[in-house]
């Protein structure tokens, strides 16, 4: 089947999409956007988190066909050109990235949290990121990154 969807502000089309394919597969393997990751493809790790019409979703749980005519934003589309979004900057600076496989999903989840709750408490951050597994960091520096990004937003 043919799938046409808007990804990071640009209309994109893919042909011969198998109906069982996930949005994640569509993005990664057909549209050249491997930023969203494939750690489990079981809806358990959050590494594939993208926005679908402004709502964060696990792209591995969304059928490619469900994205037809809708707007998808991936980690690649959070900041224009070569620039970094403050959340991305904070992840780099806080040392929240080790292997980085969880990072794109966490960046999108944190981006969403800060858009909703500009100054989240620690329990709020933990709850918002509870669907994103990280195997490397023990989460401490990820929490630091989110706190840092929130502080930066507040002072800007």
């Amino acid at each position: 089947m043919r799938v046409t969807t808007t990804v990071n502000g640009t209309e994109r089309t893919a042909d011969d999409v198998w109906p069982g394919e996930s949005l994640l597969h569509l993005l990664r393997e057909r549209l050249g956007l491997p930023g969203a990751k494939n750690a489990c493809e079981q809806g358990e790790c959050g590494s594939c988190t993208v926005y679908l019409d402004g709502e964060p979703v696990c792209a591995c749980l969304v059928a490619a066909g469900q994205a037809v005519g809708r707007e998808v934003t991936t980690v690649e589309g959070l900041a224009p050109g070569q620039s970094l979004h403050p959340v991305q900057e904070a992840f780099v600076e806080a040392g929240a990235v080790q292997c980085g496989f969880c990072t794109p999903g966490l960046v999108v989840a944190a981006h969403d949290l800060l858009a909703r709750v500009p100054e989240p408490s620690d329990p709020e951050i933990r709850e918002a990121l509870a669907g994103n597994l990280c195997r490397c960091t023990g989460y401490e520096k990820i929490l630091d990154a989110v706190r840092l990004a929130a502080r930066r937003r507040a002072t800007r």
């Binding site: 489990c40 080790q98 496989f101 969880c102 195997r135 023990g138 989460y139 520096k141």
Partner: protein, 761 residues
């Protein structure tokens, strides 16, 4: 200009918090992990795996699979051109099962097709006629006379026998216990993946996520029947490893399919396949006995450790080596009798995982130290302090510990950290065991505190030739001095790329350091395991930089007509003893590049005596201590870890932030094994191969972690570094288990601790 130069001098050298060179790519999604690779014209490879833990293969019929439109190849054991065998220490594992399958999930056939789903459907049409055979799935039976044989040579992989001191020691106080540790999974997030591209010379280029390119290359060459020049490996982006990428996964399979189809082949496991596609941490059954004086001073230890190696050898022999030589913890024992065994079964193969044999043993020796403390009436910190090794002591293999061994200080550091406040009268649900599950409002909740201290060898042991190779080039490009560092060392997330840059900046005085992708075009760097890369590849990079610096300064000395002594490199300048600029680097080098390649070794280690287990088996020891604080709902058996604090001696923190990050991550993995992580295997079948059923700590499970970093330089190591990655994974779990015991009063002789162990229901 001056300001900029001053700034450059304080960024990114050793001891500073340099940022990762790949950080930006990783936060924008542009970093190319192995599963992100893509090639024009590529096809997808999938694996058909055995559903049985033990069976004879009577016949494989691939006819139907070949008829599926889009399929370009279906391969079985008959299609392996070289030796159908691989393995880290012994090549005992078939690339594709030929006559027998020996564990559930063993690869049997491969399919390449134009879409992964097509390949999967075709694989489902391969007909394998199995004769199911009785399976040996209880490691405790493996050495019985009537046990089914997993391999013709018997079921013993290794027995390490260690004897020291009195033969029949006695002591006034004797404590003992049995302990069991379940099978843990590395659960790296980036699935096993690779892209094999057939080359014009008849060889193959493989881009793969791994921990040691050269040991992969050796095994692939054997299976393909090709020389190393024809099998070139490049490290693709690695999404975590933790030991689970030491053994081959997609490597040979992707190469076989690429060579057969003449097309690039991508393979990438889903999570379920990943659970079958790599080795796990050995489950352990242990019996320990300690004898002590009435004041708790240890007199002797007896220990029996049995590790279930599963169906193939992998690194079991080395894991047994660690469990035996380090398996009593960092304590002084005048007399010791340890027997550590690794055995074959028809369970999934087990091998390397962070902590490597020390993790299992630590649960037993730390639980027993707490027993001893209770028996002689001292507290858990004091019993460890009294018995902890110190620099200059001999450990249980008779090896002198010849650098810092700050057992007592590490314990004191964690003990001195403030304890978290008690739960308030009306606690926030989120702070309670069970959290928003609303299972308690504080009733039945008890707090417990537990301590643990452990140690681990750094680097490969027991006489292994453990070296690394580094190639460093210095040249002036566009008016700026640029150093290029080339090694085959695998960056798996731990931050070795940053460390390499920091070392080159420090040694060569340059700011710009490019670390080129790791590949087999340079000599082996050894494995990214055993907490060894900062030490060993760090040592190689340092030595190569020194060789480059010497060569450049020799040239400068000739050009300037001055002696080499007193010259130094600083950015793009050659300076004198007082820092005065004598020449530009560009004037000395012109367009030339100075390049040096160095193979670097640490002090040799030695095999242990086969009768007594005595010998200088290890090159370095790394120590850490943990204190865990938990709240336990004693009625429901739910645990909330409230705090998990570490003190660790790292020798020298090349990158302090990255060191702390390693300690956080390692601590969380140890906690996971104590409380939730287990690959459940019954009758040889993995029951929970998913992140739905294999539970990993989330950000709600992991508490705030304070880290005290000590830096007692090891005089034998480059910059004094001490391996960092593994110790926290060893000491955190036992501290958590001790805290849960303290809270609920149950003996808890098995991890992961399940609710029913706490409630005894």
């Amino acid at each position: 200009m001056t300001t900029a130069q001053t700034a450059a001098r304080t960024t990114g050298r050793i001891g500073e918090n340099a940022q990762r060179p790949d950080g930006t790519l990783k936060v924008t999604g542009e970093f190319a992990y192995a599963s992100d690779l893509w090639h024009d014209d590529m096809v997808w490879g999938v694996t058909l795996r055995s559903p049985h833990p033990h069976a004879r293969i009577r016949r494989i019929d691939v006819t139907e699979a070949l008829t599926v439109p889009g399929v370009s190849a279906v391969l079985t054991a008959d299609d392996v051109p070289g030796e159908n065998a691989f393995g880290l220490e012994h090549a005992d594992q078939p690339v594709l099962a030929a006559e027998f399958v020996r564990y559930e999930g063993e690869p049997v056939a491969l399919v390449a097709a134009d879409h992964p789903e097509t390949a999967r459907r075709a694989a489902a049409r391969i007909r394998v006629d199995y004769e199911v055979l009785p399976a040996l799935t209880d490691a405790r039976r493996a050495l019985d006379d009537d046990a089914p044989l997993v391999h013709p040579g018997g079921n013993l992989v290794r027995h390490l026998r260690l004897r020291r001191g009195a033969e029949r020691p006695t002591a006034p106080v004797v404590v003992s216990l049995d302990f069991e540790v379940g099978m843990q999974d590395q659960a790296f997030l980036g699935p096993e993946s690779g892209l094999a591209v057939p080359a014009e010379d008849g060889g193959v280029d493989l881009y793969v996520a791994t921990q040691w390119l050269h040991v992969d290359q050796r095994q692939i060459c054997l299976a393909l029947g090709m020389p190393p020049e024809k099998v070139r490996l490049t490290l693709a982006g690695v999404g975590g490893a933790f030991g689970g990428r030491e053994d081959l996964s997609v490597h040979v399979h992707a190469c076989l399919l690429a060579l057969r189809t003449g097309r690039p082949v991508k393979m990438s496991y889903g999570r379920e396949e990943s659970f079958h596609g790599h080795v796990h941490r050995h489950p352990a059954t242990m019996t320990y006995e300690f004898g002590a004086e009435c004041d708790g001073t240890l007199v002797y230890a007896r220990a029996h450790v049995l590790l279930d190696g599963g169906a193939y050898a992998s690194s079991t022999a080395a894991v047994v080596g660690n469990a035996g030589t380090l398996g009593l913890g960092p304590y002084r024992f005048p007399s010791v009798a340890v027997d550590a065994y690794g055995v074959f079964t028809h369970n999934p193969p087990c091998g390397a995982m962070r902590g490597f044999g020390c993790v299992q043993a630590a649960f037993a020796h730390e639980a027993l130290m707490d027993e001893l403390a209770a028996a002689v009436g001292v507290d858990p910190v004091e019993i460890r302090r009294r018995n902890g090794v110190q620099e200059g002591d001999r450990n249980i293999t008779g090896q002198v510990i010849d650098s810092a061994a700050p057992v007592a200080e590490l314990l004191q550091r964690v003990a001195d950290l403030p304890l978290p406040p008690a739960l308030p009268e009306q606690p926030d649900l989120r702070d309670l065991p069970g959290a928003v599950g609303n299972t308690t409002h504080g009733e039945g909740v008890r707090r417990g505190v537990g301590y643990s201290v452990t140690y681990k060898n750094v680097g490969f042991s027991e006489g292994f030739d453990d070296y690394s190779t580094a190639r460093v080039r210095l040249q002036v490009t566009g008016g700026e001095a640029v150093a290029t560092v080339h090694t085959a060392a695998a960056e798996v997330g731990q931050g070795l790329v940053t460390v390499q840059q920091q070392i080159a900046r420090t040694e060569l005085g340059v700011e710009q350091v490019v670390v080129v992708p790791a590949d087999t075009a340079v000599g082996s760097a050894g494995s990214t395991s055993a907490s060894r890369q900062t030490y060993v590849t760090g040592g190689a990079v340092k030595a190569a930089c020194e060789a480059v610096r010497t060569a450049v300064l020799q040239r400068a000395a000739i050009a300037l007509g001055r002696p080499v002594a007193g010259l130094a490199l600083d950015g793009d300048k050659v300076v004198g003893a007082g820092g005065e600029v004598l020449a530009g680097l560009a004037d000395v080098l012109g367009d030339d590049a100075v390049e040096e390649t160095v193979e670097w070794r640490h002090r040799p280690t030695h095999a242990v005596d086969p009768e007594t287990g005595q010998g200088d088996a290890h090159v370095q020891f790394a120590f850490s201590a943990h204190r865990a604080v938990v709240d336990v709902d004693t009625e429901l058996g739910l645990v909330k870890v409230v705090a998990l604090d570490t003190a660790q001696d790292v020798g020298k923190a090349i990158n302090p932030d990255a060191v702390v990050g390693q300690i956080h991550g390692g601590s969380a993995q140890g906690m996971g094994l104590a409380l939730m992580e287990e690959v459940v295997v019954t009758d040889g079948h993995v029951r929970n191969p998913s992140f739905t059923d294999y539970l990993l700590p989330t950000v709600l499970d992991v508490p705030p972690m304070r880290v005290e970093v000590l830096e007692y330089a090891d005089p034998h190591a480059p910059y004094g570094v001490r391996g960092v990655g593994e110790p926290p994974t060893i000491s955190s779990g036992p501290a958590v288990a001790a805290a849960v015991r303290a809270a609920c009063g149950k003996p808890l002789r098995r991890v992961p601790i399940r609710p029913e162990h706490i409630t005894c229901t």
